[in-house]
């Protein structure tokens, strides 16, 4: 079975400050890992993924995430937050034998001006 934990329901950060949204996972074997963002009244929008190779993955809108196998984590980061980054962020993991991701509960990111 595969699972994802996003330990924070909400993350608050001031505009211009770095942000981190945490994600840990559990899966058998090597994982595929994804981050999606959901803006109000919109579907999930793909941000980035880790498949193999470099542990630091860069994605859309200046976001990046670091795969840490020993800590089974895939935290989402951005060096300088924007108010427009305020949204719901979902981490997802997929076993390499399946096309079906398991999503975390989501973390609400609020960036204050």
């Amino acid at each position: 079975a595969q699972s994802v934990a996003q330990p924070e329901d909400q993350v608050n950060v001031a505009e211009g400050n770095p942000l981190t949204v945490k994600c840990t996972y559990s899966v058998s074997g090597n994982p595929y890992l994804f981050w999606y963002v959901q803006y109000p009244n919109r579907g999930l929008q793909f941000l980035l993924k880790y498949i193999t190779g470099d542990n630091l993955v860069k994605g859309s809108y200046g976001f990046e995430a670091e795969f840490n196998k020993s800590q089974t984590s895939f935290h989402l980061k951005k060096p300088s937050a924007l108010v427009s980054d305020s949204a719901l962020y979902f981490c997802a993991v997929r076993n390499r034998g399946s096309y079906i991701p398991t999503f975390g509960r989501g973390t609400s990111l609020i960036v204050h001006p």
């Binding site: 009244n41 919109r42 579907g43 999930l44 993924k49 979902f90 399946s98 096309y99 079906i100 398991t102």
Partner: protein
């Protein structure tokens, strides 16, 4: 940029009624999915569809649910007799073929289903 579209954006129905949720996946994608998100909860997988048949389904996807690709563009989810607990946001998604295990899924904006 191509995107997945879904109609309607909001559907209100009475318990026991049938509903059909519609999706138009991205045109060159060959894998299609339905997910649901009950308010305040995580996104849950329902079913995946490839080559005109279901490839995987979850425990949620029972006999009340069915999917269909009636033509070359639409992908539908039918709930035969809706229950109150079917109230949720339903997301359609699609992904490319090939080494699809690596391919991210592109999601539509969702249909909010309210069962009264």
């Amino acid at each position: 940029e191509p995107e997945v579209t879904q109609t309607p954006s909001h559907q209100v129905t009475q318990m026991g009624q049938e509903v059909i949720l519609r999706c138009v996946p991205i045109s060159n994608h060959l894998y299609f999915y339905w997910y649901r998100q009950i308010l305040g909860q995580k996104v849950e997988f329902l079913v995946s569809f490839y080559n005109n048949e279901i490839s995987e389904k979850s425990e949620i996807f029972d006999d009340q649910f069915s999917v269909e690709r009636p033509d070359g563009s639409n992908f539908t989810l039918k709930i035969r007799s809706t229950k109150l607990e079917d109230s949720a946001m339903y997301f359609c998604a699609s992904s490319e073929a090939g080494t699809s295990g690596r391919r991210e899924q592109f999601f539509g904006p969702g249909t909010r289903l309210t069962v009264l």
